[in-house]
């Protein structure tokens, strides 16, 4: 039986940080994609945008977010294709990183692209973030590149990582 959960590519941010993390020339040979992020930002924001194929249009999302004291739900129509919450921001305890996972089924299809995102941070303190997201990129193009961008600007700090996996259904 095949092992179908395969690493396509991984990125570890080096010294000096990075304004984004990008995967290009994504093979079109898998069924689904899974993106796992361990990250921290240099700015006071816990959200990142995903940009497919270099575009910044036709994105929308809804999410639920818990802060440790309350829960809320919001929508976003920023056209950046879906925020991913749960990246640790600059105000949190040093050396803590947030984890996020994004599942993108049928990324080569000619349908609009939906995805599911889960993100968490923990801070040994107040005002943490855990969020579940539903994202849609209203574009029928196959996904060939993914760029992860801090939503409020700034950089990923050194040692932030992102790994893109491919899953095959046969």
């Amino acid at each position: 039986m095949p092992n179908t959960y395969q690493v396509i590519s991984s990125v570890t941010v080096g010294s000096g940080g990075a304004a984004n993390i990008e995967f290009t020339s994504i093979p079109q040979t898998y069924t689904d994609l899974v993106l796992k992020i361990s990250g921290r930002f240099t700015v006071d924001s816990a959200s990142a945008f995903l940009r497919y194929n270099g575009t910044t249009t036709n994105g929308s999302s809804r999410w639920i977010e818990g802060s440790g004291s309350s829960a809320s739900s919001s929508t976003d129509g920023s056209n950046q294709y879906g925020p991913v919450h749960g990246i640790v921001n600059s105000t949190k305890t040093a050396s803590t990183f947030g984890n996020a996972e994004i599942y993108i089924p049928n990324y080569t299809s000619s349908n609009n692209k939906s995805s599911s995102s889960d993100g968490v941070t923990e801070n040994n303190g107040t005002s943490t973030t855990m969020a579940l997201g539903a994202n849609l990129w209203s574009n029928t193009a196959a996904i060939t590149s993914i760029q992860i961008v801090p939503a409020a600007g700034g950089n990923f700090v050194q040692y932030s990582t992102a790994v893109l996996y491919g899953i095959k259904n046969s």
């Binding site: 039986m1 095949p2 092992n3 179908t4 959960y5 069924t31 689904d32 929308s60 999302s61 809804r62 999410w63 639920i64 829960a71 809320s72 739900s73 919001s74 929508t75 879906g82 599942y103 089924p105 049928n106 349908n111 609009n112 939906s114 995805s115 599911s116 995102s117 889960d118 579940l132 997201g133 539903a134 994202n135 849609l136 209203s138 899953i167 095959k168 259904n169 046969s170």
Partner: protein, 165 residues
């Protein structure tokens, strides 16, 4: 392959036409867990994905939910259901394909009731995290998806097996 090699594709379905059900049968008991990835669109109207095992249509299912629709967060529970749920607020609509990741842990044991987790995302509607319970000690050998409407052509469902060793 090292121990723990995972995500073996057990079976996959891509609907070539609208269908009221999607079913996986004769599921091997040789894995530790199984995961169902559903990307679904509805035909005829909005619908939830209903989940039944081994042909059991009795009131042996229950669930606790955490869900949201973009403005409101809700958590509730339902007892003595005739099926489990893949989604509620993240329901399947007629516009775009949604994403449902459903995990069945220790599905083949014959000692415990079966808990399974549903995580549904539909950007146009909402999203869910649902804990379902099937009150049966039988090993899961078949999974049937149905709903109040039909699954539209192009809907995909794939069942993966996960081994811990």
């Amino acid at each position: 392959m090292a121990a723990g090699a995972t995500y073996f594709p057990i079976a996959t379905t891509t609907l070539g036409s609208n269908s009221a059900t999607i079913e996986f049968t004769s599921i091997s008991g040789s894995y530790t867990d199984i995961v169902l990835i559903l990307s679904a669109k509805a035909s005829g109207g909005n619908m939830d994905a209903w989940i039944q095992f081994n042909g059991d249509t009795g009131t042996n299912y229950s669930m606790t939910t955490l869900r949201a629709n973009g403005s409101t967060v809700t958590s509730d529970f339902y007892t003595s259901l005739n099926y489990g749920y893949g989604d509620l607020s993240g329901y399947i609509n007629t516009s775009n394909f949604n994403v449902e990741i459903i995990q069945f842990m220790n599905y083949s044991n014959t000692t415990t009731y079966k808990t399974f987790l549903s995580r549904a995302s539909t950007a146009g509607n909402g999203l869910d995290a649902i804990v379902n319970l099937w009150r049966s000690t039988a090993a899961i050998t078949s999974i049937k998806l149905s709903g109040s409407q039909t699954y539209a052509s192009g809907t995909t469902a794939t069942l993966y097996g996960i081994e811990y060793a």
